[in-house]
Symmetry: C2
Subunit: 437 residues, 2 copies
């Protein structure tokens, strides 16, 4: 029986046109992130399962990991996220690294989910983290980078909204104000996280069910539901507004607005699923009516590096996935038409394949990407092939051309033909490449 040609379910084959787009996405991510002084790192895709036990969240670890035993009996996992790996790497060199440490990576991540639009089992995710900064300048820089990347792709502030919340403030509400236990607070956090996906009355009933009868008697449940409907910090009860965590959030939003990021809003229901966030969290929402949902996010997690037995390290970061980013760019008409990397397709006429090699080599040495048609193949067919490959120029080399050292260059988009020396041809194509890029 013949082998299947399908890729593994929920993962993608990247044919050259797909890979080209992915490289375009990664290239802009890299350019912007490096502008802010970040350096790229990487880690193995296999990690011990223990790495995710502490903070990644039960659903991911127990239902979505690709976990197995290697031939030596170690239980390993295809990483479902990068944050534990980067925390491990920083912890390993906790003393020798220089802070603030600005690191980024674009790893592929694996989660066993039901594949659906905008959600695959394998995706790539830009991870940007700053280590060693306690104050809000870390959050500002991280959110500036996320914003600058979207703008680099041509997005304008009306296309997306940056939502902010403070886990510290939410902890204060749940622990100090509502006097919830650890378990109650954890359950409530998860519930709030799912709020947008639930009918209002089901949500209210589920919230109510979390409280004990005596907690319920004090009207806490209704008070919480009211709170969760507030969309501006100024609406919050005064005691809550006076909390340092709330003040910090307010100042952060003001600073972002001053630094040319007007599309920032407060979202008290924003929790982020992962257990390791400790303070400010943010999520970037697509404003497109057909795709109005969270694209990516991040926040402050000051506790992860310390899990490796070294001094804790304040950290702020975010992760931006390639699948959701692509959906966003597509929805807003921001995906470019990318040309083939190959500049010119050489077609030899007659028995000159060997003699043509010097001219071909010269073009390559001068920086052109040159593909060559097989010797003795039909010219018309080869022109069609070049066209289908998305190459814009064809160069004909025959006996006559070799004698005169003047070669016939055809622009496949305009069908215009000109005869030039190799040097001139290289210059024409390089100019074309620059103006088109």
């Amino acid at each position: 029986m013949a082998l299947s040609t399908q890729p593994y379910k929920g993962a993608r084959d990247f044919y050259p046109e797909d890979r080209r787009l992915q490289k375009y996405l990664f290239s802009k991510m890299r350019t912007v992130t490096e502008r802010f002084g970040y350096e790229e790192y990487d880690a193995p895709i296999l990690e011990p399962i223990e790495l995710y036990m502490a903070k990644t969240g039960d659903e991911i670890v127990h239902e979505q990991t690709y976990v197995f035993q290697d031939r030596g009996g170690r239980t390993v996992t295809l990483r479902p996220e990068m944050t534990p790996s980067v925390s491990r790497m920083v912890a390993a060199k906790r003393q020798e690294l220089q802070y603030p440490l600005r690191w980024y990576s674009i790893p592929n991540l694996w989660r066993y989910e039901r594949p659906q639009h905008g959600r695959l089992r394998e995706h790539w995710q830009l991870n940007v983290d700053i280590f060693g900064v306690k104050d809000a300048s870390a959050e500002i820089e991280i959110i500036q980078i996320a914003d600058a990347i979207l703008r680099e792709f041509g997005a304008t502030p009306d296309m997306y909204t940056i939502r902010l919340n403070s886990r510290k403030m939410m902890d204060f509400i749940m622990r100090e104000d509502l006097k919830l236990s650890d378990v109650q607070a954890h359950t409530l956090s998860r519930l709030i996280d799912r709020r947008a996906k639930m009918p209002a009355d089901a949500f209210a009933a589920a919230v109510d069910a979390i409280f004990t009868p005596s907690q319920r008697d004090t009207g806490n449940s209704d008070r919480l539901l009211e709170l969760l409907d507030m969309t501006r910090i100024e609406q919050l009860p005064e005691a809550l507004q006076r909390q340092p965590a709330t003040q910090e959030l307010k100042e952060l939003m003001a600073t972002l607005e001053q630094s040319r990021i007007p599309n920032v809003i407060f979202d008290i229901t924003l929790m982020r699923g992962l257990d390791y966030y400790t303070d400010i969290v943010f999520e970037v929402y697509d404003n497109h009516p057909d795709n109005n949902r969270s694209m990516f996010g991040g926040g402050r997690y000051d506790g992860l590096v310390g899990l490796f037995g070294v001094d804790p390290l304040p950290t702020v970061g975010f992760g931006m996935g390639d699948v959701t980013l692509r959906t966003f760019l597509e929805g807003h008409g921001l995906l470019p038409n990318l040309r083939s990397e190959t500049d010119v397709y050489v077609i030899t006429i007659g028995q000159v394949y060997q003699q043509a090699q010097a001219a071909i080599q010269e073009m390559r040495e001068l920086g052109l990407n040159v593909a060559v048609a097989p010797a003795g193949s039909k010219t018309d067919k080869q022109i069609k092939i070049a066209h289908k490959k998305g190459i814009h120029y064809v160069l004909f080399i025959g006996q006559k051309e070799l004698e005169k050292q003047q070669y016939t260059l055809r622009n496949l988009l305009t069908s215009q033909e000109e005869q030039h020396s190799i040097a001139r041809i290289v210059s024409i194509i390089r100019d074309y490449r620059t103006t088109e890029a």
Copy 2:
């Protein structure tokens, strides 16, 4: 108990300095390969185990794969090599793709081996393949690319040797000449592959043991051992020299020598472990006395795409691993000192962190990669940090600088300080970056 900070055994963490070197290797691989008109593709790291059963070789499939069941009961593998995946992708679009198809990729591959110097469980491998070309122009181009990549890194022909053989000629020897059965031929191929690692008498005894008593009576075993000692095609028996496969090999070597690749030799013992090669095979050897061994290789495999139930497709390709390449470059003193991607480290003096942001943003918009020291940290300490991070320039911004719009730039290598406008500073650093690169 604290979590371990070690990466998975046999795999590498890439700290920024390691990742920088890896990106340098990949960048040169990409540049050269694209010069020859090749396009990049990619495939998922997980593949069904069946993909490797047919042709990858028993040792790899049964002893070295990372194989496991996913949560849906599918038996999957971390790819140990890329050739089956690319063959699968080509087969899936056999009809619509345009030939010759020139593709490359730089995947990470996993094999469960005992980690040792120059051999890890995870490595990256440039894979370059041309599909749809029957004649030797495919072999010539593929070997030219392998050669051009090494030269792009600064290697000279004396540093490495390209060894060539023909599996077709070897088949002729084993089947037509020695009249061996399938099983005998396969065993003999494996044995010849290990010849360099065995004492001569042990090898001779093992060869002898393959033959049946009647085969042995004709002196075949001795004749074979003699043959395997021949180092030039001209030494081969005349009947063998007249074989088309031998003629093709001879012509290929002559063409390569004419096209500025003098370091080509004939190696009748070169078999290549993988079962799918059908004709010309080659390997590139490091000539360094401390590391005189095969670095990488490839050859023609015309049968793989057809395993997927589509028309077969002639294919020639090679794979070049990052670990052996790195060992080669290191041994020959060809590894460069790479600078940090970050161009300048901004240190604010006094309470001007917020006011300094406009100048910082201007530098970024003009193309510089700018990291910023935290507000209120000690200047001396921050200069040391910039130095340790490998950043060459520090820019001081204080109240005085902001008023005069003249900022103090210090070159950390020369300790020289100058005062300039932002535009001038950007221009100085961009010039520096260009001349150093």
